[in-house]
């Protein structure tokens, strides 16, 4: 072995020793950094998925809209991985939360659900909100029904006035559309301003009904959107409605205006439809696995303008159709109705619009071999 060879060999071995040693020293930091970087990548992917699929109901910053619960609070953040995963994968029974996992007929792979959980547990909701805006998917602002100052003042002058006034505001915002401006009831929901209701139901019954809803009807579980104090105030209002009537308090109910079918209205409806509805009902209203077709003769001829407006306002309990009344103005809903109505001349005939089962669930060949016939 020549001297050059010896030196080369020695230096090479030294280099190996130094490299391995440096790698060993760097290793703990490297692992920690890799974990953080992977988390950041997951959050980035989850943010995009959230913007495209979830912001429309849960809000651009996860703040919750209408009866859809907020995600940007400590309660959700602290939920365990399994609950979060199953909720996204399988949805929640009797709510508007659909099943999103691929194995349940949805669109998300396991890795994509994981990235959404990363957003919930590690994401910054301001960043999410900015990204939603960047993609042009910010849902319209919720609009509350105004109660005049004089009305509120006259309520506040009653005993427990603060609570009653609060309850009245909440009622106007969330309940008046179905239960009537004065609690007199409509075709959709019973009267709340009724003596026999006050006699029949205890405060606990009323509270529970508001909180948990009534499955099988349009009454949603408002416990997801209202806290205990708010529900207590509403209960108080229902209990003491006769006092309001005696004091002459009245909330005017805004009548649904006749549908404006001008091109501007239809265009506005088209814009709203593409942001809010297309994802579930299909870009042309032909339906997807999540929601039925609207662009059909059967649906459009059998459903009046008022009925369409009501369904949009109230949602459909037990399905994925949310109640938009808390977030859209009457003008918005009217525009949407106009857009849907504009389809009628060219809508294809369908006898019974219903969702078509498009897969999901365990593969037919799953399970042990001896199961097969």
């Amino acid at each position: 072995m020549t001297r050059e060879m010896m030196w080369t060999g020695f230096l090479a071995t030294l280099l190996i020793a130094v490299t391995l040693g440096t790698a060993a020293l760097r290793e703990p930091t490297r692992q920690a950094e890799a974990l953080i970087r992977l988390r950041e990548e997951a959050v980035a992917e989850g943010t995009d998925l959230f913007a495209e699929n979830c912001a429309v109901c849960h809000g651009a910053a996860g703040e919750g809209l209408g009866a859809t619960p907020a995600l940007n609070n400590e309660g959700v953040r602290a939920m365990d991985y399994e609950t979060l995963f199953r909720t996204i994968e399988r949805g929640r029974y009797n709510t508007a939360m659909a099943a999103y996992g691929v194995n349940e007929g949805g669109i998300f792979t396991d890795a994509q659900i994981d990235s959404l959980i990363a957003v919930i547990q590690f994401g910054d909701w301001q960043t999410v909100s900015a990204r939603v805006a960047e993609l042009g998917l910010t849902p319209p602002e919720a609009v509350a029904v105004e109660i005049s100052e004089e009305t509120l003042a006259s309520v506040q002058s009653l005993p427990d006035g603060e609570a009653l006034a609060n309850g009245l505001s909440l009622y106007a915002e969330n309940c008046a559309a179905c239960h009537g401006g004065n609690g007199e009831g409509t075709a959709l929901a019973p009267a709340l301003n009724a003596a026999e209701l006050r006699e029949r139901l205890s405060d606990g019954d009323i509270q529970r009904t508001i909180e948990q809803g009534v499955p099988g009807t349009l009454m949603a579980a408002w416990g997801a959107a209202l806290d205990g104090q708010e529900i207590a105030d509403l209960t108080l209002l229902i209990r003491r409605w006769d006092e309001l009537a005696a004091a002459g308090v009245e909330i005017p109910v805004v009548e649904a205006p006749p549908i404006d079918m001008s091109p501007e209205a239809v265009a506005e409806g088209e814009r709203l439809y593409s942001i809010l509805c297309a994802r579930c009902h299909g870009a042309e209203g032909y339906g997807t696995r999540m929601a039925p077709a609207l662009n059909s003769q059967t649906f459009l001829t059998q459903t009046s303008d008022a009925a369409i407006q009501q369904i949009i306002t109230l949602g459909v309990t037990g399905t994925a159709m949310p109640a938009w009344g808390g977030r859209l103005t009457e003008a918005d809903i009217a525009a949407l109705t106009a857009y849907l109505r504009s389809w009628e001349p060219t809508a294809p005939a369908i006898v019974d619009p219903s969702t078509s089962g498009q897969g999901g669930g365990l593969p037919a060949g799953a399970g042990p071999p001896w199961r097969r016939q």
Partner: protein, 462 residues
């Protein structure tokens, strides 16, 4: 009268004596030769080698480097087997765990990944080296054929390993790569189904590829590689000489131990150090988890298949994927059996003229290939020129025939202009084709972006 036990008195000495058959360290050359003959690993070498063939710049140690890389791949591969499960549910998470939970997980993976890629480059260069120093002619023809089969096995090992991370890159590269198989006439569909374990890449594919990658291919590789090295020992290396030098009358030989072994040892250390350095700083890629419903844009096969994929963009798939590669393989396999003159053995590029012609071939390949690619991309649209013919003729047979005519024309012109021998002209043609293939690979990697449209490399990356 009992016979005496010839072994030394103490137990430790007896143990040591039982391990070594020869005297260590060997005292003289005979001792060294005997040691090489009697040692399991060393006896893949002959006991003496020609002194001239020791020159590093003759072989560049490429064959030995390939063997070293194989050993590193086996060592790192076995370690990775301890943390990896070949199912779609687990595989990707195991890859993530290598980065975040396993101590030195990233390092071992990087070593494995870069050794695997370097191996492909090294065996390709080794093939070129053997070609240009005429190391494939009698009596070494069969060893060349063994080498070609080793090349195919290395490509197969790379391809099967590519799927295992189960990320988007892996899933779609293998989908594209295995779709090439289905273009083989008659057996293509069946072969594709057999290898994939079904009609598409799925859980069965992962299991199949894993079995191939960790067991079948390595065992076959080691078997054929041993045979290959054995033949090198028996046939010996060709003797290098300068371009004008005559063949030496006597071949001077030196003992393998220490001359060859020392060089191999030092070279191995240097290469291990360099690869380790690279692997500890440059990470192997890992994209998002595989999503069978969502093909990426563009979907590219592994880099060593990009030449083939580029070819596919210009030819009908049967031609791009099957006919042209088959012709290339057959050409390579038949090469050592063609008639040669035995001059030029041991001289790089055979002669001065050979060197000039090789340079001309390289430059022609370098210039003609991009021109032909651009012509086919923007100017000539074979199918629309002959709309009534099926595409397999208008986009297959006809362009191939045109290309072959061009190559024959080049061969005839080069032979006449340089007044060269057949061997030298063949060498020039070989150089042209190799350079053309490399250019196609580079175009496929760096100049094809979204929708596989031609664009500048910086546009591809954005």
């Amino acid at each position: 009268m009992t016979t005496q036990d010839p072994r030394p008195e103490s137990l430790p000495q007896r143990v040591l004596e039982s391990l070594q058959r020869d005297e260590l360290p060997p005292r003289d050359d005979r001792g060294r030769m005997r040691l090489v003959m009697n040692n399991l690993i060393l006896h893949l070498h002959p006991s003496k080698v020609s002194k001239r063939a020791l020159k590093f710049t003759y072989t560049w140690g490429l064959g030995g480097l390939a063997l070293l890389l194989l050993a590193m791949l086996v060592a790192t591969g076995v370690m990775l087997m301890f943390v990896y499960t070949p199912t779609p549910e687990q595989a990707y998470n195991d890859m993530l765990a290598l980065r975040t939970d396993v101590y030195f997980g990233q390092l071992i993976r990087n070593l494995h990944h870069w050794s695997g890629n370097l191996l492909l480059v090294v065996v390709f260069l080794h093939l070129l080296r053997v070609f240009y120093t005429s190391g494939f002619r009698t009596p070494r023809e069969f060893n060349w054929v063994l080498g070609i089969s080793l090349l195919l096995l290395v490509v197969a090992a790379n391809f099967t390993g590519y799927l295992l991370p189960w990320d988007q890159l892996a899933y779609w590269a293998v989908t594209v790569g295995s779709s090439l198989l289905s273009y083989i006439p008659f057996v293509g569909e069946g072969l594709s189904r057999l290898i994939l374990g079904g009609p598409e890449v799925g859980a069965a594919t992962l299991t199949n590829f894993y079995g191939l990658h960790v067991a079948i291919i390595p065992l076959t590789l080691m078997g054929i590689a041993s045979f290959h090295i054995w033949r090198v020992r028996k046939d010996t290396l060709t003797i290098p000489r300068d371009v004008d030098e005559e063949r030496p009358a006597r071949v001077e030989k030196v003992t393998t131990l220490p001359h060859l072994v020392a060089r191999e040892f030092v070279f191995a250390l240097v290469m291990i150090a360099l690869i380790l350095l690279w692997a500890s700083w440059v990470d192997a890629p890992l994209e998002a988890a595989a999503n069978p419903d969502h093909s990426p844009n563009p979907a590219k096969a592994a880099w060593y298949f990009m030449g083939l994929q580029e070819l596919l963009l210009h030819f009908h798939p049967v031609f791009g994927a099957i006919v042209v590669p088959a012709l290339a393989l057959v050409g390579l396999g038949v090469l050592p059996y063609l008639r040669f003159d035995m001059d030029g053995e041991g001289i790089w590029f055979r002669s001065r003229k050979g060197r000039q012609m090789a340079l001309v071939g390289a430059i022609t390949g370098l210039i003609a290939t991009p021109i032909l690619v651009l012509l086919d991309e923007y100017v000539i649209d074979w199918p629309s020129l002959m709309p009534r013919l099926p595409t397999i003729i208008s986009n297959g047979w006809i362009p191939l025939a045109a290309l072959l005519l061009l190559l024959i024309g080049y061969y005839a012109a080069a032979k006449r202009v340089f007044k060269a021998t057949a061997c030298e002209t063949r060498q020039s043609l070989f150089t042209l084709l190799v350079v053309a293939f490399v250019v196609l690979t580079v175009i496929g990697i760096a100049f094809r972006g979204e929708g596989m449209a031609l664009m500048w490399p910086w546009e591809v990356l954005s």
